[in-house]
Symmetry: C2
Subunit: 327 residues, 2 copies
DNA sequence: CTGAAAGCGCTTACAG
DNA sequence: CTGAAAGCGCTTACAG
């Protein structure tokens, strides 16, 4: 690989001048600028980013830590993050915690020693304490999907109003005439959805047995198992609110296997609006999380922290009910 | 951030000695080794990877370029790539071409100037010529999902025998008694699947009208549209082989909307075995691509090229028929 | 076994 | 407008 030194010799100028040309600094005469560019072409020079990074103390790189990619929710968000970062000339280091927050911590450390300019962490992919410590050390950090856990005002976050998601989903079910409304949720991550669900039932003076709250692990299988438990109850529910689409789809599968018609025998509402929701049979009524907007906002915040030294902002986006066939 | 210099001063040794301790070089006395480690702890030192990279000429980083992540196929493969790379202490730079090979070229260039140790490119995310040029320049490169396009023997590749996928899918349909067997394929990417389909029909002396070959773009919507075209034919097919699961699912949707029963009125077979295939109604019969094995093999090959200077190998993995309800 | 020096390939004040 | 020098934070021979 050609280096700056090759260019310098060829153009018969100093290294500093080559650098100035490369970085479009104004203080170079047109003549030498041309000569340097010609030399760059001739030797086929590409700046070495590692050396630039070291000299500049900046890497134009963002670290992204998410729990997994097999969950289409994260895959879609990461896809948009990449697009937005690319547009701003940033590159992405991708790391997955795959269910182990300790693995997330290790990745955070690697990000730090690699001098990423900023770090985006989603869905509790690392322990809160470690993330906060990183932010306190001065590294720009943006969080999303952190559940109800308080992180204080000193860290940038963009969240979805999931309590509202629980409310509109439950309200829809009430409006459809249901009273035996169950919930399948992953706790504590989906605690706010539970709050919305409970508040809405209470407001309507509807009481449900405690067994109507089933826990899942946000996976298809988790939803399926939880639904089977609900169906085994002496008085099964006529409707179910699932904390995400994967579990809602699993619940539909279980109901289908038990010979139940949807939405006739059982109404189902999910949260997320993944692609599969619109294709299921019946199509899944859900509360859409604005993933694109979410990713955009995260990039906006992290760049603000990096480039403008803005102070950390916290944003809350509003989810949207998507009525389809399942409820 | 503490630097090596802080450690050096604290431990009253030379920088070289600190480096030797850090990198477990044998030639350090136990006493100084202890002193240095103590100093490292005390100042909270973390090596700066950028500086290490520059000095070593190696980054422990792999560049991964794929077309997209919203396609669960790539999301799943990337997930495994990350896991395997992580186990070998490599990190991932992720880049997406999002349908624009020229964007892929730009990412390849960035990878190069960032000194990634190796590059993995999937699904034609960059033009073949650029990828080959990169490999020729000495950079370790592994390809996958490159379609029938010849790349010569000088580049590492791991492919799936997709011709065989076309064969087993078509054979299954024949075995089920079908003769009016259509195909929905994205060309030229899925050319080998088409070859397998054609060869199998020919072997069975089954002839189908040319309209039975419909093109799709590997998306759900593409499959849906193609199926609608097939259904509008004077003599619609009784079975369809789709080039991937997304299109197969789309075809099922179209058939469903047209009031057709699956597999009674129409049998459907896909390729990939994405998670959704097992959950669809009816569940989708498909030819599974061993994604996990594929990712493992790619990492194995790229590390061989990087660390052992192995010569480029080309592997072909065998797909597996997964019979389910749709055919 | 340890230290001093050169080098990785850039950028950034600072003279001139 | 241009060059020489120092610096970014490490590693790697090479003396001793």
């Amino acid at each position: 690989m050609a280096t700056l030194d090759d260019v310098r010799r060829r153009a018969r100028v100093s290294a500093g001048t080559v650098s100035n040309v490369l970085n479009d600094k104004p203080l170079v005469s047109e003549a030498t600028r041309q000569r340097v560019w010609a030399a760059i072409e001739e030797v086929g020079y590409y700046p070495n980013r590692i050396a630039q990074d070291l000299a500049r103390g900046k890497t134009q790189t963002l670290g992204v830590l998410v729990p997994s990619l097999s969950n289409p929710y994260f895959a879609e968000v990461v896809e948009t993050l990449e697009a937005e970062a690319d547009a701003e000339k940033y590159e992405l280091m991708l790391a997955l915690s795959r269910g182990q927050p300790r693995r997330g911590v290790r990745h955070l450390e690697r990000f730090t020693s690699r001098w990423v300019d900023g770090v985006i962490v989603m869905g509790g992919a690392a322990p809160t304490a470690d993330v906060l410590a990183l932010a306190k050390s001065g590294k720009p950090v943006v969080l999303s999907g952190w559940g109800p856990e308080s992180t204080g005002p000193d860290i940038a976050r963009v969240e979805i109003d999931l309590r509202q998601a629980g409310e509109v989903a439950t309200q829809l079910l009430l409006d459809r005439g249901h009273r035996r409304i169950a919930a399948i949720l992953e706790l504590p991550v989906q605690q706010t959805r539970l709050d919305g669900y409970r508040a809405t039932l209470e407001r309507a003076s509807v009481r449900v047995p405690s067994k109507y709250l089933q826990r899942g692990d946000s996976s298809f299988t988790g939803g399926l198992r939880a639904m089977n438990a609900l169906l085994a109850l002496p008085t099964p529910p006529s409707a179910v609110f699932a904390g995400n689409d994967a579990m809602a789809l699993g619940a539909m599968q279980a109901a289908y296997a038990a010979g139940k018609k949807i939405p006739g025998d059982l109404a189902v509402v999910g949260v997320d609006d993944v692609a599969e929701a619109g294709r299921a049979h019946p199509t899944l009524t859900t509360v859409r999380i604005p993933k694109h907007e979410l990713a955009e906002m995260m990039i906006r915040l992290i760049l603000g922290l990096i480039e403008k030294k803005a102070s950390p902002e916290q944003h809350v986006l509003t989810p949207e009910l998507i009525p389809r066939e399942s409820a």
